[in-house]
C-alpha cells in the first residue's frame, strides 16, 4: 500500500472529526507558533541592530562607569566620572587615536524660524569624531569650540520648513537658557550613531562638548554633583563638576584601526590610565564603580545574550507545549483506535497487513502533527511580522526554523502515533469484528 493512499484515508478520518482534530493540534500549534514568532523577532532584531554597526564604528570603544553588578545595556547605572583633563590624557596614550566625552543634555524645546518643537532629550554633546563621515548625508562634522551642530533628518524635517545646512537653530535648555547653533551637517538616518543613543530613530542635535556642555556646567553655578544618570542616557540635566571641570557621563575612545588587536590595545591603554593614580576618574570611581569599555559589537553581543536567554526560555515553554500536544495526539489516537476497532477488524478481514494498519494510524498522527506545525508556523510568522512592524525593524524570516518546525511536527506525530498505531496493528481481527 502506498503512502498517498495512507494519506488519503488518514485525511478522511481527520476530516470526519474536524473539531476534535483541531483541538488536538492546538498544543502543537501554540508550541510551534511561540518558537517561530520569537525566532522571527529575534532574527529581525539582530539583523536590524547588526545592520546598524558601520565598519567605521568598529574601532570605537564606548566606556562608562557603573557599579559592576548593574545589569542592562549601555550606560546602565552610569555615573559621570570623566573629566576633560582625563579625556585629553587618554587621547595622548599609545594606541589611542582620539578620546572624547559623551553627554546627553536635557532640553525643553527646539526653535526654528519662530516655530517651537518641544524636545526633552534631543541634545547630545560629544567630540567631532562622533559624527563619522559615513553617517553624514550632507555638510560636515561640527568643530570643537564652535557653536555648530549636526542634526539628523528627524530634526530637519520636524518644522514646517525643512532645516538645511547653514541654518540657525535655537535650543531651549532645561534650565531655561537659550543657545543658538549653526547647522553644519545632516546625517543620513535618524537612528542613533552609537549604542549610547539606542537604535530607535529619534530627533537628535549633535553639538561639540565645548562650548555646549562646559558652558552649561558653568551656568549651572556649581550644580550638584553626582546626579544619577538614567539608563540609556536619556537625561543628565545639570552638569557635574570636579574643581572647575565638567564631568562626562561617558567616554568614547577611538582605536587606530578596527583590528581586534588595535582595539584591545586602545582599551587596555585607556583603562590603564583611567584606573591609575594620575587620573581624576580613579578618584571618583572609588570602590563601588568600575569602567566598562566595549565596542558596539560587544555591546550588541550582550543584548544578544539577553535575547538568547529569553529565546531558550521560550523554546523551553514551547517544548512543554509540544509535549502536551503530543500527549493530546496520542490520547486522541488511542480513542480513535478503540472507536474504530471494528473498522480495523474489517480491514484485516479483507487483507490489510499489520503494517498497513500501523501505517494508516501513524499517518493519521503525522498528518495531525504536520497540520499543527503548518498552522503554528503560519501563526508564528504572522505574530513575528506584526511584531517587527510594530517595533519598526526589518523583517527577517528564519526559514531554517520553518523547516525545523515541520520536522518537529512530523516527529511529534510519529512519536505520539507510534503506540496507538501499534495497538491498532495488533488488534485481533476476530475480536475486532465481534466488537460492538
Amino acid at each position: 500500500m502506498r503512502p498517498l493512499e495512507f494519506g488519503r484515508l488518514a485525511w478522511r478520518a481527520i476530516r470526519s472529526h474536524r473539531l476534535r482534530s483541531a483541538l488536538t493540534t492546538l498544543g502543537i500549534v501554540i508550541g510551534i507558533a511561540a518558537v517561530i514568532a520569537f525566532v522571527t523577532l529575534g532574527a529581525s532584531l539582530q539583523a536590524g541592530l547588526v545592520g546598524d554597526i558601520s565598519p567605521d564604528d568598529q574601532r570605537n570603544l564606548y566606556g562608562w562607569a557603573a557599579d559592576p553588578d548593574t545589569e542592562g545595556g549601555p550606560l546602565a547605572g552610569a555615573q559621570p566620572v570623566f573629566s576633560q583633563d582625563d579625556l585629553d590624557a587618554v587621547s595622548e596614550r599609545d594606541g589611542v587615536d582620539a578620546a572624547y566625552g559623551y553627554m546627553p543634555i536635557s532640553t525643553q524645546a527646539l526653535v526654528y524660524g519662530g516655530e517651537l518643537s518641544p524636545q526633552s532629550d534631543a541634545l547630545v554633546a560629544a567630540g567631532p569624531p562622533y559624527i563619522r563621515p559615513d553617517t553624514l548625508e550632507e555638510g560636515r562634522q561640527f568643530e570643537m569650540g564652535e557653536r555648530e551642530a549636526v542634526i539628523n533628518p528627524a530634526v530637519a524635517g520636524q518644522f514646517e520648513e525643512n532645516v538645511s545646512v547653514g541654518d540657525e537653530l535655537t535650543i531651549a535648555l532645561q534650565g531655561g537658557q537659550q543657545t543658538t547653533v549653526t547647522v553644519v551637517g545632516i546625517t543620513e538616518t535618524s537612528e542613533g550613531l552609537s549604542p549610547f543613543e539606542g537604535f530607535e530613530p529619534s530627533p537628535r542635535v549633535y553639538v561639540p562638548t565645548d562650548p555646549y556642555y562646559t558652558e552649561e556646567v558653568e551656568s549651572a553655578t556649581g550644580g550638584v554633583g553626582g546626579e544619577n544618570a538614567s539608563e540609556n542616557g536619556s537625561s543628565a540635566g545639570n552638569g557635574t563638576v570636579v574643581g572647575e571641570d565638567a564631568l562626562f557621563l561617558a567616554i568614547v575612545v577611538q582605536a587606530e584601526s578596527a583590528d581586534d588587536a588595535d582595539v584591545d590595545r586602545a582599551r587596555e591603554s585607556a583603562l590603564a590610565y583611567l584606573e591609575s593614580e594620575d587620573s581624576d576618574t580613579s578618584e571618583l570611581l572609588g570602590d563601588e564603580l568600575a569602567v566598562t569599555m566595549q565596542t558596539s559589537t560587544e555591546l550588541l553581543q550582550q543584548l544578544q545574550d539577553v535575547l538568547d536567554l529569553l529565546q531558550s526560555f521560550i523554546v523551553g515553554i514551547a517544548a512543554i507545549s509540544l509535549v502536551v500536544g503530543s500527549i493530546g495526539i496520542a490520547n486522541i489516537m488511542l480513542v480513535s483506535v478503540t472507536e474504530r476497532t471494528r473498522e480495523i477488524g474489517i480491514m484485516k478481514a479483507v487483507g490489510a497487513q499489520n503494517r498497513d494498519v500501523l501505517g494508516l494510524f501513524l499517518t493519521e498522527a503525522v498528518v495531525l502533527g504536520i497540520i499543527g506545525a503548518i498552522l503554528g508556523t503560519a501563526l508564528g510568522l504572522l505574530v513575528g511580522y506584526a511584531g517587527t512592524w510594530y517595533i519598526d525593524i526589518p523583517l527577517v524570516y528564519p526559514y531554517g526554523y520553518v523547516a525545523l518546525a515541520i520536522a518537529v511536527g512530523i516527529l511529534v506525530g510519529v512519536l505520539s502515533g507510534l503506540y496507538p498505531a501499534w495497538r491498532a496493528a495488533r488488534t485481533d481481527p476476530i475480536d475486532a469484528l465481534r466488537y460492538e
Partner: protein
C-alpha cells in the same frame, strides 16, 4: 471445470480456555471441492463461526490442519495468512461490516488497496462489481444511505473483488427481510453459477436448501452431511460441476 479442493479440514480442533476448556470445534474433517455450494447449519454455539474463521484464515486451529487454496494455513505466518485471506477468501457478514466513512465504491475497492492495486484499476473493478450486484446507481452512497439489502450486496461485491476461490458468508441474511434476502441469495446463486465456491452459514432451512449440501454441526462436531440431490436448481453449470465432483466424497463428516 475445476475439480480441485477449495478447502480441506483434517481433524480440526479449536479449544478456548476460559477456566474450563471449551471445544468450539472438536475434530472436524471436511472437504469442500472447488465450485461447490455448501451450507452449514447448527444451533447457536455449535462452532459455525469458529469454522468460518478458520477457513477464512482469520484464526488457526488448536489441532489438525486447514488447507485453503492449496496452502496449509497452520504452517503460514501471520503475514502470509493475511495475504492468503486477502486474495483467496471473500467474507460476507451478518452485520455487513462496511467501512462507515467509505462510499459503496470505496468499500468494494478496499481489499484491492491492500493488494497494492492502482487507484483507477481498483475503481473500475469496483464499479464493474457494483453493476453486477445491481447497484451501479449507488456507487457514491455512504453505507448509512443504503438499505440493509443494498449494504449486503455491496459487501458481496467487496467479497468478490479479488476473485476469491471461496466466498464465506456467516448468516448473510440474518438481518434482512424476506424480499431482500432472496435478492441476496439469488446473487449467491449467480456467483456460484459463475464458478465461485460458496460456504454459507445459516439458521434457516430455506436458505440452506439453495446449496448442494448441508453440513450439520452440533457441539463442535459434524453431526451429518445432507446431500441435496435435487435442490430445485436447473443450471447446467451447476449440473456439470456436480457431475464433476460426484463420487469424490465431496463432503464427509468425521464424527468420532
Amino acid at each position: 471445470m475445476a475439480t480441485g479442493t477449495a478447502v480441506s479440514l483434517q481433524n480440526v480442533r479449536k479449544t478456548y480456555h476460559l477456566g474450563e476448556p471449551v471445544h468450539a470445534l472438536d475434530g472436524v474433517t471436511l472437504e469442500i471441492p472447488q465450485g461447490t455450494y455448501t451450507a452449514i447449519m447448527g444451533p447457536s454455539g455449535s462452532g459455525k463461526s469458529t469454522l468460518m474463521n478458520l477457513v477464512g484464515c482469520l484464526d488457526t486451529p488448536t489441532d489438525g490442519t486447514v488447507v485453503v487454496g492449496g496452502e496449509d494455513v497452520t504452517t503460514l505466518d501471520d503475514r502470509e495468512r493475511t495475504t492468503l485471506r486477502g486474495t483467496t477468501v471473500g467474507f460476507v457478514f451478518q452485520t455487513f461490516n462496511l467501512m462507515p466513512r467509505l462510499s459503496a465504491l470505496e468499500n468494494v475497492a478496499l481489499p484491492q488497496l491492500f493488494q497494492s492495486v492502482g487507484r483507477s484499476t481498483r475503481r473500475d473493478r469496483a464499479r464493474e462489481l457494483l453493476e453486477r450486484v445491481g447497484l451501479s446507481d449507488r456507487t457514491d452512497h455512504m453505507p448509512n444511505e443504503l438499505s440493509g439489502g443494498q449494504r449486503q450486496r455491496v459487501a458481496l461485491a467487496r467479497a468478490l473483488v479479488n476473485d476469491p476461490t471461496i466466498v464465506l458468508a456467516d448468516e448473510p441474511s440474518g438481518n434482512l427481510d424476506t424480499d431482500t434476502e432472496s435478492d441476496v441469495l439469488d446473487l449467491f446463486d449467480e456467483f456460484y453459477d459463475a464458478g465461485t465456491t460458496m460456504l454459507v452459514v445459516t439458521h434457516e432451512r430455506h436458505v440452506a436448501e439453495r446449496a448442494e449440501r448441508i453440513v450439520h454441526l452440533l457441539d463442535g462436531r459434524i453431526e451429518r452431511v445432507e446431500e441435496l440431490e435435487d435442490a430445485g436448481r436447473e443450471s447446467n453449470a451447476t449440473q456439470n460441476r456436480r457431475d464433476g465432483v460426484d463420487g469424490t466424497g465431496a463432503a464427509s463428516g468425521a464424527d468420532r
